[in-house]
């Protein structure tokens, strides 16, 4: 059988040294997307007509366009508007594309989570003299966050996988390194299987982490 098990084992340390790049892309995008997603969800809930429409158009666009297309728009397309200035590094373009897209998905997630918090909670905030913003920040948002955690962790897992698209604009993440390794050695199966296992384990670890966070967040409610 033409399978070099040893090659695969030896590939792990090389590939793992690029895991931080992948995690950096995913986690940074997740943070930016979460902030944007909360903002979008708040805009839609505010029912300010013009803003709500703009937010809905944003969400509809970024949910519909493939991530790769979004990435190419930002990396190859946008600099065309500002000739002579190549402001955007490949890493920045990847993070922008990933976070803009994920923000659209998370906005829906957050909107649902915020609606799931009983209306009486805000009324109670107002009745003791808190402002709407204070009530939102201190009472509504923490309760909505608890509901949103499973959904958020799904999107984080998705981001880790989609960050592999960064190789198309020249970022050397874990997947790009795998491609290099594979084409230098012609050990395609070993290389790609190795990286697949790494993605798998990372996802398993994240899921465990999610369960622990959920457990902690849920304990006051049981």
């Amino acid at each position: 059988m033409n399978f070099d098990f040893r090659f695969m084992l030896e590939a792990f340390p090389t590939l793992l040294s690029y895991l931080p790049v992948t995690l950096f892309l995913a986690v940074t995008s997740m943070i930016i997307a979460s902030v944007m997603g909360i903002g979008l969800a708040m805009i839609i809930r505010s029912r300010i007509v013009v803003l709500t429409h703009l937010a809905e158009i944003y969400i509809s666009f970024f949910r519909s366009v493939p991530t790769l297309v979004t990435l190419f728009i930002f990396y190859f397309g946008i600099p065309q508007l500002f000739p002579g200035v190549s402001m955007m590094s490949a890493i920045a373009a990847t993070i922008i594309a990933l976070s803009f897209k994920t923000a659209a998905n998370l906005a829906e997630e957050f909107r649902g989570a915020m609606s799931s918090v009983d209306k009486g909670q805000m009324e109670a905030c107002l009745s003791v003299g808190l402002t709407r913003w204070q009530g939102f920040r201190r009472v509504i948002l923490p309760q909505a966050f608890r509901v949103a955690v499973p959904g958020m962790s799904n999107y984080l897992v998705m981001l880790i996988k989609e960050s592999s698209l960064a190789f198309t604009v020249g970022v050397t993440d874990i997947f790009a390194q795998t491609k290099i390794l594979a084409s230098n050695s012609f050990r395609f199966l070993e290389s790609y299987l190795a990286v697949a296992l790494i993605y798998w384990v990372v996802t398993i670890l994240l899921t465990l982490l999610q369960k622990r966070i959920e457990h902690r967040l849920n304990s006051p409610y049981q």
Partner: protein, 244 residues
């Protein structure tokens, strides 16, 4: 102390409050009773502007607001004079019993944390729940939650406390402990306005009863006279049916 004049409120073109005028003195305990849909809860919720009246004037102490020219400053000022106890308690689910009480003090009134906790513990003691300070609402019974909610309403030292059917969601055996606590806060200083279905409690604790039906005040009388010599046919009928 609390003056309402010519208050109007409609939901989807259905008039729920029709030109309500009312004056309540400081320290009075007023029970508002009446059949479902009579507008009594809406009236209560208009007093702290959880519902926005369509028109009318509300004045509590030195704060006077005109419903047609409402600003967010007005809302804050009026709510600063009121506390509310809800039918479904509405305790902050992500906060402990003590935090439920101190939240408004620390975040709203910028009171130092240590002092706020002292105030909070004293209030919990007053409703007999100091041993539950660190429990979350989900770990408390309905009666306990409502007692914490009363302590929370007291914390902001309101001039008026509004009770919106405070015992309707409770199991019968838990009603008593909550009524007991409400009774204990009657001090001739704080004004209480209660929307309630507990007739005997209203008779017992309130010194004034307002009977509402179809968005108007039908009868406004002392508690004693209201239950012994009701002035209106509509009131008599209501008392008869609810006595059964």
């Amino acid at each position: 102390m609390l003056t309402i004049s010519h208050l109007h409120k409609s939901f989807n073109n259905v008039a729920v409050l029709k030109d309500i005028s009312l004056e309540i003195e400081q320290g009075q305990v007023v029970a508002i009773i009446g059949p479902s849909g009579s507008g009594k809860s809406t009236l209560l919720r208009c007093i702290n502007l959880l519902e926005k009246p369509d028109s009318g004037i509300i004045q509590i102490a030195d704060t006077r607001i005109d419903a047609e020219k409402l600003t967010s400053k007005d809302e804050t000022a009026l709510r600063a004079h009121t506390g509310m106890v809800f039918q479904h308690y509405n305790l902050f689910k992500n906060k402990t019993a003590l935090e439920n009480i101190t939240e408004a003090l620390i975040i709203g009134k910028k009171m130092p944390v240590v002092e706020a906790r002292k105030v909070g513990m004293a209030l919990l003691e007053r409703v007999g729940l100091q041993h539950k300070a660190d429990s979350y609402p989900a770990m408390l019974s309905g009666g306990q939650q409502q007692r914490v909610a009363i302590a929370r309403a007291l914390a902001v030292k309101p001039k008026v406390i509004l009770f919106d059917e405070p015992t309707s969601a409770l199991d019968p055996e838990l009603v008593h402990e909550v009524l007991q606590v409400i009774r204990s806060i009657v001090d001739n200083q704080t004004t209480l306005v209660l929307v309630t279905h507990e007739m005997s409690f209203a008779r017992d604790v309130a010194n004034r009863v307002i009977f509402m039906a179809d968005g108007v005040i039908v009868e406004d009388n002392t508690a004693e006279a209201f239950f012994t010599q009701p002035q209106h046919e509509r009131t008599r009928k209501f008392l008869q049916t609810s006595a059964k």
